[in-house]
Amino acid sequence: MKSLAGLRAIRESMHQPSNRLNNETTTRIMVGMGTCGIAAGARTVLLTVMEELATRNLQHVAVAQTGCMGMCEKEPLVEIEVDGQKTTYAYINADKARKIVLEHIVNGSPITEWVVTKS
């Protein structure tokens, strides 16, 4: 079990990964940064989100990029996780991203009309 032990040691020496919430961060924003997302404008969205969080000094929010979520057609996709509750937004641009930070994260009310829907 030498290798497994080696892997455990590596794992323990690591930082908390960006996709887990911990004591400091209770909210997480994931932006789909696969090529599909980027092609649809995800880079601007990610930058806007970070800018907006910095402006508002929201330190409890972690931002991370992730790969393709699968629904390329609806890119850019942004997923917000607040206290374990996940919400995915579709077709996000910079303006929408700013509003989501304000409404969903600051005011605590998701913008349902932009949430990815069943159709």
Partner: protein, 544 residues
């Protein structure tokens, strides 16, 4: 044997505590009672990830999950769902509503999927090895190194029935075995990420979304076949894939997951990225090898096969990205687990890319054997703008064109091959009724004319000749003898071209001729029903 339903019963340790053993037995009894053994397959799986709701089971292909079951509940599920096809709402997994937050994983888009290869895609940060390790990454590798010999690994893969996901569907375990027992050193492992098949972008998104999964698969494969050197050949257009992969390799090296004495074992293996330069044909394994060697990417004559004489004349195993991405899960959960997903001859899942006239274009992973209809209508959300379905092409540009009557074909290697198409790379192009099959065929052929390597006569000269006949047809000028020539040329290209590019180039043409005969006849008479072609005697001008 083909089962219409698969029932996955969770036998993870949590569910075991909660009594899933009783559930399994109850279900087995019910299936016998209802004489469903030939139709419904009972599969004991690992943790389904809903431990707090256990015991749980999932019915595929619908992907419906029943939770907190008792033995009595099982009888009801069997009676209602498995026999009569009706859901049992009171036992369903509770889902969040849109109002309280609605995430992608709860949409029907996800509920029909089974994610093995894509399990981390869209969930972890691909640039963070921490994310991957914390998502149980590299555990399969570590356990394999500790508990299995290379031969054991090959046996597991052989037993799992995993077939190559690049298109040809050759059993992965056998390919590994050939390389393992070939003489020559060093041995090479090549990950084929030269994804050029139009409509395919799964490898790109896997590389971008979960690069360490590929690395883990490659390290295990290298251990099994005895390769010391790995190369990931990524097409040059995939800039982001190349960067993410190079970053992942650097991180893995830093942690001793690549290089010498991997995880403290004897294993030595390192990987480098090689970027392509824009040639579809390099997806063919021997052309890819030529390209890595710095040559024109022209396929080699086989035999000898790469397993005998590949890169630099040494034994070489070439595996597709998705094939390698399946490896860690198979070793983690076992061959039996894997075999129970999908169909008997095509076990496991398949990643598809949905493109064309479909609402949810994108990347999905489903168990083999799911029908085209389910993929297009349930996962893909159907055809946009209220139009109706006309054609689906599976397997990329060299795949067959399927019509409405084929919507219930199970998507697996053999069923599709039986209908003149192929699973191929997992591309699924959907076309609505506003488009013309001849116009589309022309588009396919233009691609082949451009991408033929030009080495062998049937393909170099045959692809433009095919194009010119179809072009003639689209202009309403084709004659009977043109059509006979088209068939003769197609047969020759299929039988005599040096590689699969030339051998399969006529496939979409021939299948269109068969499955869309009426439309072909119309063009023959000078009319294009969808008015996409500039026919000489009709089409757009056919007012009279």
């Amino acid at each position: 044997m083909f089962y219409r339903s698969h029932v996955l019963v969770c036998t993870g340790s949590n569910c075991n505590i909660k009594g899933c053993q009783g559930i399994t037995e109850a279900l087995r009894r019910e299936l016998t009672r209802l004489s469903l053994e030939q139709e419904v397959r009972l599969v004991e799986t690992g943790c389904l990830g809903l431990c707090e709701h256990g015991p749980a089971l999932v019915v595929y292909p619908e992907g419906v999950m029943y939770v907190r079951l008792t033995a009595a509940d099982v009888a009801e599920v069997a009676e209602e769902h498995l026999l009569k096809g009706r859901l049992v709402p009171r036992l369903l997994q509770p889902t969040a509503t849109v109002d309280s937050g609605y995430s992608l994983n709860m949409s029907p888009f996800f509920s029909k999927q089974k994610r093995i290869v894509l399990k981390n895609c869209g969930l972890i940060n691909p640039d963070s090895i921490e994310d991957y390790v914390h998502a149980d990454g590299y555990i399969a590798l570590a356990t394999t190194l500790d508990t299995k010999t290379p031969t054991d690994v090959i046996d597991v893969i052989k037993k799992s029935g995993l077939r190559g996901r690049g298109g040809a569907g050759f059993p992965a375990g056998r390919k590994w075995e050939f390389t393992r027992w070939a003489t020559g050193s060093p041995k090479y492992l090549i990950c084929n990420a030269d994804e050029g098949e139009p409509g395919t972008f799964k490898d790109r998104l896997i590389l971008e979304g979960d690069p360490h999964l590929i690395l883990e698969g490659m390290i295990i494969a290298a251990y099994a076949i005895g390769a010391t050197k790995g190369i990931i050949y990524i097409r040059g257009e995939y800039d982001l894939s190349i960067r993410r992969m190079e970053h992942a390799i650097a991180e893995a090296r830093k942690l001793g997951l690549l290089g010498q004495n991997i995880l403290g074992s004897e294993l030595e293996f390192d990987v480098e990225v090689c970027a392509g330069a824009g040639a579809y044909v390099c997806g063919e394994e021997t052309a890819l090898i030529e390209s890595i060697e710095g040559n024109r990417g022209e396929p080699r004559f086989k035999p000898p096969y790469p397993a005998q004489q590949g890169l630099w004349g040494k034994p070489t195993c070439v595996n597709n990205v998705e094939t390698l991405a399946n490896i860690p899960a198979i070793l983690q959960h076992g061959a039996e687990w894997y075999q129970q997903i999908g169909t008997a001859n095509s076990p496991g899942t398949k990643v598809f890319t949905l493109t064309g006239n479909i609402i949810n274009s994108g990347l999905i992973e489903v168990p083999m054997g799911i029908t085209l209809r389910e993929v297009i209508y349930e996962i893909g959300g159907g055809i946009p703008e209220g139009r109706s379905f006309k054609m689906a092409q599976t397997g990329g540009t060299s795949g067959g064109c399927l019509a409405e009557e084929h919507l219930d074909i199970p998507m697996d290697y053999d069923s599709l091959a039986g209908h003149g198409s192929s699973l191929g790379s997992g591309a699924l192009l959907v076309m609505d009724d506003s488009h013309c099959i001849i116009d589309l065929t022309k588009c396919f052929l233009k691609f082949f004319v451009h991408e033929s390597c030009g080495q062998c006569t049937p393909c170099r000269e045959g692809t433009p000749a095919l194009y010119s006949i179809i072009d003639k047809l689209s202009r309403g000028l084709a004659t009977e003898s043109d059509m006979r020539l088209l068939k003769r040329l197609s047969r020759t290209m299929q039988s005599s071209s040096l590689c699969a590019l030339g051998q399969t180039a006529p496939v979409p043409v021939l299948s269109a001729l068969v499955h869309f005969n009426e439309e072909v006849e119309a063009h023959f008479k000078g009319d294009c029903p969808t008015c996409k072609c500039h026919t000489a005697r009709g089409g757009r001008q056919s007012a009279n």
